[in-house]
Amino acid sequence: MIELSNIQKYYGTYHALRDVTCHIQEGEFFSLLGPSGSGKTTLLRTIAGFEGINSGTVMIGGQQMDGVPPNKRPTNMVFQSYAIFPHMSVAQNVAYGLRSQRLSKTETAQMVSETLAKVGLAGYGGRAAHALSGGQRQRVALARALILKPKVLLLDEPLSALDRKLREEMQSELRRLQRSLGITFVLVTHDQEEALTMSDRVAVMFEGQIAQLDSPQALYKHPASKRVAEFFGAMNILKAEIIEVNGDIATTRIEGLGVAELAVPKAASVESSFCVGVRPESMTILDDEEQAYAKETPATVTEVEYRGEMTYYDVTIDGADKPVVVSMRNTSNRALREVGHHVRIGWENASAVLLLDQD
């Protein structure tokens, strides 16, 4: 649906987009994830037509978009500030883009009320735009874009201004809306949880480049670099030393834990330096007689953080100087450990990922 090829963008001397290439498929929920200044919003605005690019091509629906202004593109956008026209009613806002279609008054009214119902605002047409709450404004912004039946809906951090509860509600609602309409959604966000829960695929961006493009599961389980790994949830980063490489598998000595056979990242080269990431939930503090894991490492509990369903332990592996985090589900038959306890940590090859130390 959208094909971005070798896009370069400069603001003066600042290199905002560095050779970005990615293909967004039809009907996909695609997220651009990155910290502020990573170029994700610039890329979205490039697709919408608000930003010119220095080189590269943007194709939407098989058509070259070079020189096509925003009002002639088959995309519609939900702005971060929602950009609801304050001098119009809700219905006037939603009907704004219909003017060129020259519909009759009754047709327009019909479409407006149908679209408002779709976003959960049935009956709000007569309200003044400034009298709406944040969540309602966002729904109006959605309705205003969706009524035009765009091929692609672009969303610029649409949930960042909402409080937590409303945000979670809107996440599942956006997802449901996207599934039922079958429109391609491109979402910009800095919230990794949002990207994970909503998207079919996520492009992780740092400094104007796509660091990794993958499904949420793949990003979480097999991050390509240390930076991507740290961006998604908690990750213990440990020093690593490659002993031997055999095809795609590297025999690696992991600081403190021991030796493991790990997959070599695709982007690795001879000069790459590596480290190893281990998710807190992929290690276990073993019960006294438990033998469920292929590898075991002795350690001492140095901190306990109880969070209801989970307990987070800081454990220092014998001989190491800084602790790693291990999270344990609080099931009824598992004993809580206390600071100072000597324990065994159970893990296996699949617990660890070999990461590129730099991008």
């Binding site: 009002n71 702005f79 950009a83 883009g97 003017r99 060129s100 205003r144």
Partner: protein, 268 residues
């Protein structure tokens, strides 16, 4: 104690500001051609005499034409300049704003003399048009000062949203930008109108055979018996100004309420 001093100071200050203005209506209704107390009686003769003065009517017409045209031209120029300077960065922007704003601080007599030189050098005839030119020059900075805050309050993503929803740049201006900056545009028109209407120095230098109202009033002051008529005229102008100011403030508040903004700011 200090509170009382402040109260007295405030009353004295307001008297100093407005007492001279209040003398205008008082003598406009006084039944004597000599401007002095005690007042001798009530009359409407002076207002009636205004209707009979052909030259006065002509001067008023001239002034209205000039004030209307210069306020519209100045406001339009200011809208163009402000929308460019608020939204875009370009080389020489600071120098450009400085040059446009300069007439606000230049003595009018200098502007008047230089414009007169230019007009004569260019071989143009002094007319209503030359005065409009001069008034546009001095009104534009004020219009820019007013419109700048309107444009600054305008969220640029509103215009982007309109483009994104399929409207052209022109229709975006018509449907989104203009309605939202309207209170500023009205204030700008009004201020420029008022400035042009009572401007004397430039109009004096640049007027040909058709004097503006202030120039006409000045010429009448040579004849003492005409002074009460001038006072009556002044009273009418005063009422007109107050009415215009009130109107613009009412319009501004109404639109502010419609947009759900607070009512601070504006001319009043």
């Amino acid at each position: 104690m200090s509170k009382r001093i402040l109260t007295v100071f405030m009353i004295a200050f307001i008297l100093f500001l407005y007492a001279p203005t209040l003398l205008l209506p008082i003598f406009a209704f006084n039944d004597s051609s000599i401007i002095a107390f005690p007042l001798s009686g009530f009359t409407l003769d002076w207002f009636a005499s205004l209707g009979a003065a052909d030259e006065l009517r002509k001067a008023t017409g001239t002034s209205l034409i000039i004030a209307t045209s210069s306020s519209i031209i100045a406001t339009m120029l200011a809208m163009l300049a402000t929308s460019a300077t608020v939204r875009y960065r370009f080389p020489g922007k600071g120098a450009m704003i400085g040059t446009i704003m300069l007439p606000m601080f230049l003595p009018e007599i200098i502007i008047g003399v230089s414009l007169l030189t230019v007009v004569l050098l260019a071989g143009l005839k002094l007319s209503i048009y030359t005065i409009i030119m001069g008034h546009v020059l001095i009104c534009t900075p004020f219009c820019i000062a007013i419109l700048r805050s309107s444009f600054q309050q305008l969220d640029p993503s509103l215009e982007e949203a309109s483009l994104d929803l399929g409207e052209s740049r022109f229709d975006t201006f018509r449907r989104v930008t203009l309605p939202l900056i309207m209170p500023g545009v009205v204030s700008s028109l009004l201020i420029a109108f008022t400035i042009s209407l009572d401007e004397f120095v430039i109009a004096f230098f640049l007027s040909g055979t058709e004097p503006t109202l202030p120039v006409y009033i000045w010429s009448q002051l040579r004849f003492p018996q005409r002074i009460p008529s001038v006072m009556a005229l002044g009273t009418l102008l005063l009422l007109l100004s107050v009415a215009l100011l009130t109107l613009s403030e009412v319009l501004r508040r109404r639109s502010a309420r419609r947009l759900g903004k607070d009512m601070t700011g504006g001319v009043l």
